[in-house]
Symmetry: C2
Subunit: 255 residues, 2 copies
């Protein structure tokens, strides 16, 4: 299957590229190809048409270059995606936010959501352990700053961040799926739901599954209106932050 990360991706190779261990060569013909240009082209393709459309052939084509030329700068597709991810992290804002931890965490959540909205392919590409590129490290450092002065242990700080970012990613995935579905079927979520209503009524009867039937119908009716991925994101985010505040209050009380 692959697609998101061949099992054989070599982290060391990705790291070498990410941290620019190689100096730019001036030898040879060189018609201006470079890791940066390749990554930029690849991101453009993935943004516009998704990870499936991102093939090495397409990348070469986009750069007016043979397929195999890409391999001069990038060891393989998996490593290319690694670099794409770190590059995307690099475009995130890292402003100094005024306000308490809750404001800061909420801001971080929204920034990450925006990132996933712009680069939907990241939702599928990150499957394996992230490669510790420079921008990911900077991002991690910045985001830890939001929870640094709350009296949490280092491990707890990491766990809080993991929790919030995990929620963002779940929500983003759900939202992305709705977009995909609308694009593929040509139907909005509400229309799709309505077209499946007869089918649902056949099997998902109030007799057999009372709760699922009622709630599903309610949720379905709201689709396109108030309910949807946005609601799930907002609701979940506030719940998560509420939950974190319990620990924070505890630590503040106990010193």
């Amino acid at each position: 299957m692959a697609s998101e990360r061949k099992a054989t991706a070599d982290p060391a190779r990705s790291l070498a590229i990410l941290w620019r261990t190689r100096e730019p060569t001036s030898r040879g013909a060189g018609q201006g190809l470079s890791v940066d240009r390749i990554v930029r082209a690849a991101i453009d393709i993935a943004d516009a048409e998704g990870l499936d459309a991102l093939t090495m052939r397409r990348v070469g084509e986009a750069l007016g270059v043979g397929t195999m030329s890409v391999y001069t700068y990038v060891p393989g597709k998996a490593e290319l995606v690694d670099v794409m991810i770190d590059t995307a992290y690099g475009e995130m804002p890292r402003p100094a936010v005024e306000g308490d931890w809750r404001v800061r965490l909420e801001r971080i959540a929204r920034d990450n959501l925006a990132l996933y909205r712009r680069h939907r392919w990241m939702l599928r590409a990150e499957t394996t352990r992230p490669v510790l590129g420079p921008h990911l490290v900077a991002k991690y450092d910045y985001e830890l700053g939001a929870v640094a002065d709350l009296g949490l242990t280092d491990v707890e700080m990491d766990a809080v961040l993991t929790l919030v970012l995990g929620h963002v990613k779940s929500s983003a995935r759900a939202a992305s799926e709705v977009v995909d579905l609308e694009r593929e079927t040509g139907l909005t979520d509400g229309q799709w739901w309505q077209s499946h209503a007869p089918w649902l009524e056949t099997f998902l009867t109030a007799d057999s599954y009372p709760t699922a039937s009622r709630v599903g119908t309610a949720a379905g009716r709201q689709h396109g209106a108030a309910y949807g991925p946005e609601y799930a994101f907002e609701f979940g985010l506030q719940r998560v932050l509420d939950g974190i505040s319990v620990v924070v209050a505890e630590r503040a009380a106990n010193g």
Copy 2:
């Protein structure tokens, strides 16, 4: 996009198979192939070797049958995965749990985590909107029961469930990645972390990224010990439940 779900997956076809719209034929030769046997074989392969190893050729091979014979019962790979997912949901327990909503939700979270542990391929396969198979519907109905009597609106009930299950999936994914990494590299997480220590110390210095450096080191040192995906799961779950309890208490107070 594809890989876990070809963009061309046809939900209607999947649904037809899932709800057994076709009656079992008794015409023709028939050497005992069936949707069930195919699905079972496919799940065995995916469990043992991952989604990447699941190819139509492998499935046919495992059943002592030609590759294309599989297509007699299943329209394509995407639909096969759909059916695999619903089948996996079918093996989940749905006991009547005594205790309050928190006990019930916690139980649901752990059951789902166990499911993902047994079928790690599900973490990659569910990308798109789930197909509403019979077992998913039953699962949804069952799980809604855990939050049915808390005074929440229908939409809120759905959101609570989405939040909890999203956290489970995030955590399961993280845990699965650790397993994959250990399997691929032959190193435990702690060993891997240690082997990258020199590299990290070069770039992730206390000067440039003080917080990330300290927390990363702390988290890294704990790997293999107390910290890890299990901790992140437990910590996050309690935070999420704490957050939900705030809403529940609100509703209980306001009627």
